[in-house]
Symmetry: none
DNA sequence: AGCTAATCGAGACGGTACGTCCTGTCTTATC
DNA sequence: GATAAGACAGGACGTACCGTCTCGATTAGCT
């Protein structure tokens, strides 16, 4: 007997076809990768999936929503953080995994399309933050807190700002394409963030910074 | 007598109206800020500017191009780098100026709209890189090189990656809105980038990093 | 035990629900009267009847068929021809009954909807002719024949044309609405048809007509 | 200089293309005749005319409106009433012209489509009455009045009812198709209406009818 | 002053995609 | 087996913009 996942009530009527759902998400993903954001119209998605437009609208409110779900499907990035590794190593793994996802899978173009949509569609923006960014930021925050606890990282880090120091450069290059996005860049970003770009500890700049920091 | 700027030949016929050009750019900017990317249709821009659509197409190839020019007009950010200041101070000024531009002027929404368009329009992407990012990156690179020369910054910096370390977090927050974009954040980003997020110099992590670096 | 009406064999499975049949016909009729032809979609009929769309399609091939049956149900016009009355009186009863049906019952709007459907659906058209027009024309033809036999009516009547002379004006007003459709109109139509609109018998026009007729 | 027909003001903008207008009306007419009412969708009309759908909607509010105008175009029935002819002859010409129009030109199917639309679209219904029926009824009324004046027709005719006596049978057959619609039928209708279907003047029925009439 | 030519407003036009609605078919579980 | 519920492919609806086009009106330099 069919039962509804959420409520447990027996379902009525014809159940949703998982096959079509997959076909729609695949079509959306393919189109976005082939022709960019512009090619992935709802009409084209439905046509390519061999599905009526109404079926698409039945389950997703907008193209962005389809894209998001298609993205999540294809972005099943299965990086596992090394156990008991130093913080720098974990951050490196995280940053490299992000770059690898964006460059070696369909996820890159999809993320670009999603980010574009998010600029004019608050719902997409929110979904992107909540469903994509948040979990990754949470993992990263945990790595940072653990590193702080173990004395590998400064004790006074601003955690959100530090996360952005790692991810910001990656998304910046993804979206603007002004410089190549590759794993070496991810590693360099983490290394520079860890060690600082300032000259060794005794520099006056650093002293100032430390002073200010202690004042806060 | 009217003369053509480029050729110096005397122009024939009615000259282009600078008043309309300004009106179009203003209308485009206003619409993007009011209703976001979606509201700024070519039709709406022309209507608001009190201008025929053909006039807009005569001078700009696409909505993105109008937006870019409107953006440049409003983003006349007049930050002046302090003379002979330490590198950290200069970077701070640069980062804070960017945040201030995006949060205290129309440029923020405009940049978001442009970045979105750039994801599907290569011409916009290129124009954005060449006309907006490049000059700012050039200035920043010069600051970095000067800091390296003066011994304030590490001698082995990857300059493009370092620029992204400063700007990346700012654009990341602008485009995704997951955390507030304010001047304090810009300052913290620069400070953490300078000093590094790792614990003081003698940490083993840092040593490893340095070792690796020397190996490269 | 349920048995099939036609064969007498015991039926298998759940027997057809007469209750639903009635509900469907009622819903169809109501909708056509409320919102006209446009409102009576199959979907709306099924929903209002509390019935699955498939159930409707199971028993009727098209909306027009449902409408027709609903119409027949509501158009149970129980006029009884007066016994041994003069032809004119019988025709008057027939015409007035038609007008009364169309104006004082739901049958008017239903007939309008059916006639509209019949213009593009040959099956509806045929059903309308066979199930609705034919029996009424047959009764009317009999009245005419009887009148001719009794010498009340001309002996050389073209019976179908004469029937149309009585009914045509009624349906014309029903479908075009250019003039009010009421019982007085029905009576006047019959009276004028009987007596002729020409001036009394000795007019030259009449003579010509008779001459021509005799030639045929 | 282009001027607006109605106001005489100089027109602004690109003037309406008469060529497309003709193409749209032609396409609509063709489709209605080929595939009946159902085939003439707005989409098909636009496609066949090689025109954008918006262009059709710009000038006509609905398919029915296009159909009406297309009908009027093709129904340029140029019957001329004979001068000083007897009323019966004039009515015969009128009725035969109607039948001829409906059977020998595209106007028949078009009128059927229009009449169908009119059942659910009050605007079509009104337009049909005002633009099509009214002028023809006016001409016919004039014929009747002239006939009454000359003593060829009864002096106490109900003019609208008499007009329906002539046209009603024709439209009845056109729309229901229960009997053939041909010129002989039109002639017979007029002849029977003129002479009356009752037996010659001395019939008791007629006497009754006359009595009643004189009472009114 | 008249001529020539480019720009301008207005807006008609062929298209494309939108998001909605209904059709007629189908696939479930229930009765 | 008949049903309700409702998912589904398909297709037309009427709308909004797109980018192009064709008008008359305007505004300059050139003759």
């Amino acid at each position: 007997m069919e039962t509804d996942e959420a409520t447990g009530h027996p379902t009525r009527g014809r159940p949703r076809s998982e096959k079509r759902k997959a076909a729609i998400l695949a079509a959306a993903g393919d189109l976005m990768m082939e022709g960019g954001l512009k090619a992935a119209t709802m009409e084209a998605i439905a046509a390519r999936a061999g599905v009526g437009k109404a079926t698409v609208y039945k389950w997703w409110p907008s193209r962005g929503a389809v894209a998001l779900e298609g993205f999540m499907l294809r972005a099943a990035d299965s990086w596992t953080l090394p156990e008991n590794a130093p913080a720098e190593e974990s951050l490196r793994v995280i940053a490299v995994a992000a770059v690898r996802l964006f460059t070696r899978s369909p996820a890159g173009p999809l993320m670009r399309a999603l980010a574009a949509d998010a600029q004019s569609d608050p719902e997409i923006a929110q979904a992107l933050r909540e469903q994509w960014l948040s979990p990754r930021r949470a993992v990263t925050a945990e790595v940072l807190r653990e590193g702080m606890r173990r004395g590998e990282l400064r004790a006074d880090l601003d955690i959100p700002a530090t996360i952005d120091l790692i991810f910001g450069p990656v998304y910046f290059r993804l979206l603007f394409g002004h410089e190549p996005l590759d794993e070496a860049f991810a590693e360099r970003t983490v290394r520079q963030a860890m060690a600082g770009i300032g000259a060794d500890g005794n520099s006056p700049v650093r002293a100032v910074a430390q002073t200010e920091r202690s004042v806060q």
